[in-house]
């Protein structure tokens, strides 16, 4: 009669499994590779490895004229390239001290807010896709197409515009643009309620995102997280309000902040909800800007040869993903000595190893989706 076999737990060797999520993975929003140590479903260590989409943007800039860099800034954050252009133009105008006519400021605000809506639609759509809801993604992409059609009428391109130049914009508004944008806004407002009804207040979606990946405000500031992800953690910080540039001081809008409505402050649901509210704010801004757009020549202040004086500038701009910074050193020639682009997604991504440890794999995907990263601008 053999005695019951006694299994000594210490002999049962369980070890962590090392998994490579990426660089080809459906939900890493681009070529990001996450080296994950998991034991069972729970993720114990994450090491993001980036650089698969590195196209030496900064090295290129050291061989290009200042006006030739604009199409290259497009290609960094290809989902919100109007913002990249505008950020670059803002930095150069500060360096060269160019005063831009008010009509250009209003056009830049309208176009910037349309681009913010389009970028948020992609961000929220793919976030829903990561959680498993496929229909909201297709609805959001359908609405984004209309914005891209508007941009196509404006400057001919749908994704990479090369539209906002140093000192102005490349083309004036076509005559039916304002009416068409009005049409789009009236069409788009009820659609946002549909997204809420289908996804935002869906019990499974709340179950999957509330209280998941909580980002405390001080950790966010310490990691340099900016944009909707920072506002999701309750920090009321928006460059359009705090460092008012362009025509934003004349337009009134408010800055949505995460309040922990469905879970705790700073969880995935809050970041999602802040982006959803921001889209409504953008609609409000566009409404006001369309009514009060002044007249004037858009290429009045565009210099023939862009030659900034010797010196350096660091300027920040609020893109859809966060705060983009351009540090430009120039020595009077027509090519920059050094152009550093501080990309928001670069810092937003670095926070994932801090907040996603201890959660399960499906939550890791949800947290990554809620941070809304674009690999083009991370790898530059």
């Amino acid at each position: 009669m053999s005695t019951k076999p006694h299994i000594d737990q210490s002999l049962v060797k369980t070890e962590e499994m090392v998994l490579n999520m990426g660089p080809q993975h459906p939900s890493t929003h681009g070529v990001l590779r996450l080296k994950i140590h998991t034991d069972g479903e729970v993720v114990s260590k994450i090491e993001p490895i980036i650089g698969y989409l590195h196209r030496c943007f900064e090295k290129h800039c050291e061989h290009l004229g200042y006006e030739q860099i604009v199409p290259f800034t497009d290609r960094c954050d290809y989902i919100a390239s109007m913002h990249m252009n505008h950020g670059y133009a803002l930095a150069m105008e500060r360096l060269m001290g160019i005063e831009v006519p008010p009509r250009v400021e209003y056009i830049r605000v309208i176009v910037g807010e349309l681009q913010r809506i389009a970028s948020h639609l992609v961000a929220l759509g793919t976030f829903g896709l990561d959680i498993g809801a496929i229909t909201p993604f297709t609805w959001m992409i359908r609405d984004r197409e209309r914005i891209l059609d508007l941009f196509e009428n404006l400057c001919g391109a749908r994704l990479l515009y090369n539209y906002i130049w140093v000192g102005g914009v490349s083309h004036d508004l076509p005559e039916k643009f304002i009416r068409r944008t009005k049409e789009f806004i009236d069409y788009f407002t009820p659609q946002m309620d549909e997204f809420d009804q289908l996804l935002t207040f869906n019990k499974i979606f709340i179950e999957r995102t509330a209280d998941v990946g909580i980002l405390p405000p001080d950790v966010a500031i310490n990691y340099g997280v900016t944009g909707p992800s920072l506002r999701g953690s309750g920090v009321k910080w928006d460059l359009r309000k705090d460092e008012a540039y362009s025509a934003y001081p004349e337009l009134e809008f408010d800055v949505p902040v995460g309040t922990g409505k469905m879970g705790s402050v700073g969880d995935c649901w809050d970041r999602y909800w802040v982006r959803m509210l921001e889209m409504r704010e953008s609609v409000r801004i566009i409404d006001q800007a369309l009514k009060s757009i002044p007249d004037g020549d858009v290429r009045a202040a565009v210099p023939k040869k862009v030659r900034p004086p010797k010196g350096s500038v660091y300027s920040r701009f609020e893109t859809a993903r966060g705060e983009i910074g351009y540090y430009i050193i120039s020595d009077g020639k027509n090519i920059p000595v050094r152009l550093k682009m501080r990309s928001p997604a670069f810092c937003n991504l670095s926070v994932i190893s801090e907040i996603a440890e201890g959660w399960m794999i499906s939550d890791l995907i949800a947290i990554l989706g809620s941070l809304d990263i674009v690999l083009g601008e991370i790898d530059r």
Binding site: G156, N162, L198
Partner: protein
């Protein structure tokens, strides 16, 4: 316990809402469908959603196109392109030759013949920066507002890379020869440039015969420094040469200053020394032999590229490859291609001319003597020392010349422009007077 049930009821309520919403989309799909069935419905379609009709397009970003007869070869678009996908080669008729390069559609007279204008659409990033600086608006993207000249053509995909390189300029044989570009043709056909009996103006850049008040015997020619193979060394040498030449010193002084510049930059290779010695010794600029001696004239398949008709070109190339694999000589190759084309009755006289080109006989045309005479053009202002003022002066000069003013009026506008920018120092004024003076 109640929170447990509250959860369940909230869940059921939100499920019901969601389901009801997707059912609504399922039911009235007629007006909500957003798909564009590509092969049947072409973009842009009427206002089903915010699609725009064609003529409302302010600008379009599809393929680049060039009206070559409007192009004055100013290379502005080539300079504006961030990815260098535009290549233009122009041939300038030698001074005083009566060759008329033609008039563009909005009236500016063309000063050179555009021999090659090719855009590599695989490199182009559609940023549209090239269409803005063009003075004649002859480079534009097809479709949209330009659809009167070219309807939207966004389906130009192709199987091989070569056909994505669009060649816009196709100058006829006679024009190129008339402009004195036979060196250009020979370079294209991979042959060594002609050994000039009489100093022929080299093809690309206008020789910088510096207009010094006291022209020395044989003006030193910067082309001599082409002999130095290393690009960096040659660049510093040339810079030193230009500075010295402008300073009016003679040949030996120029050689010394170049040598100094090279040594100071630590680039004084022995090859540079050899070239400098040859410069100092011989007065007349002897063209140094081309760097790499091109091998015996091998017939090149590229010459068949000129054939217009795709079918003919394909067949000719096929036979050419067959023959060259067989190791035949050029003339046998030509006969074989001609025979092949004849029995496929595709042989037209001009295709025969192109095929004949494969085995060119010794060119018989003699280069026309060029009469160096200093006519009145912008080079006159090279004398001004300071780079900024010279730039300003030249700009004013070109502007005035384009309006077709007479010589003295041009000098007048240059003078006013300089005085406005308070750059009109007295030595500049004397120089202007000396040029303006002996003309009046």
């Amino acid at each position: 316990m109640s929170e447990y049930f509250a959860n369940i009821f909230y869940g059921l309520k939100s499920f019901a809402e969601g389901l009801q919403l997707t059912m609504r989309h399922f039911r009235n799909r007629k007006d909500l469908v957003a798909t564009l069935q590509y092969p049947h419905e072409k973009w842009p379609i009427e206002d089903r959603h915010i699609g725009f009709p064609l003529e409302e397009y302010n600008i379009i970003r599809s393929r680049l196109n060039v009206d070559i007869d409007d192009c004055i070869g100013c290379l502005q678009c080539e300079r504006a392109c961030p990815v260098d996908c535009i290549k233009i080669e122009t041939i300038k008729p030698p001074k005083g030759s009566d060759f008329d390069c033609g008039i563009t559609s909005n009236g500016t007279k063309m000063k050179m013949l555009v021999a090659r204008f090719s855009i590599d659409m695989t490199e182009c990033m559609f940023c549209n920066l090239c269409t803005f600086p063009c003075p004649e608006d002859c480079i534009y993207m097809v479709g949209g507002p330009n659809s009167s000249k070219h309807e939207i053509e966004y389906e130009y995909a192709s199987r091989d890379r070569e056909s994505l390189i669009f060649q816009f300029a196709n100058p006829s044989e006679s024009d190129v020869l008339a402009v004195g570009g036979e060196n250009y043709l020979r370079a294209k056909a991979g042959l060594p440039p002609l050994a000039p009996e009489v100093p022929v103006k080299p093809v690309e850049t206008v020789s910088t015969a510096t207009e010094k008040p006291t022209p020395t015997a044989g003006e030193p020619d910067v082309k001599v420094l082409n002999g130095i193979t290393d690009r960096m060394v040659r660049a510093t040498a040339k810079k030193a040469f230009m500075a010295a030449a402008r300073g009016g010193s003679d040949l030996a002084a120029i050689a010394k200053s170049i040598q100094a510049a090279l040594e100071e930059a630590g680039k004084f290779t022995d090859e540079a020394k050899a070239v400098l010695d040859s410069l100092a010794v011989t007065q007349t600029p002897t063209p140094v032999t081309v760097n790499e001696v091109s091998s015996e004239a091998k017939p090149d398949i590229k010459t068949l590229n000129v054939l217009e008709d795709k079918m003919v070109r394909g067949m000719a190339k096929k036979i050419f490859m067959a023959e060259s694999r067989g190791g035949k000589s050029a003339s046998e190759m030509v006969d074989a291609i001609l025979a092949g084309l004849k029995e496929a009755d595709k042989l037209t006289p001009e295709t025969e001319a192109v095929v004949r080109q494969l085995a060119p006989e010794v060119p018989v045309s003699t280069p026309k003597p060029s009469a160096p005479v200093t006519d009145f053009n912008v080079k006159v202002l090279n004398g001004i020392e300071d780079r900024m003022t010279r730039g300003l002066a030249k700009k004013a000069f070109m502007a005035a010349q384009r309006e077709g003013k007479s010589a003295s009026e041009i000098i007048q506008t240059v003078q006013t422009a300089l005085s406005e920018a308070d750059k009109l120092t007295d030595d500049v004024k004397t120089l202007l007077l000396s040029i303006g003076g002996d003309k009046a």
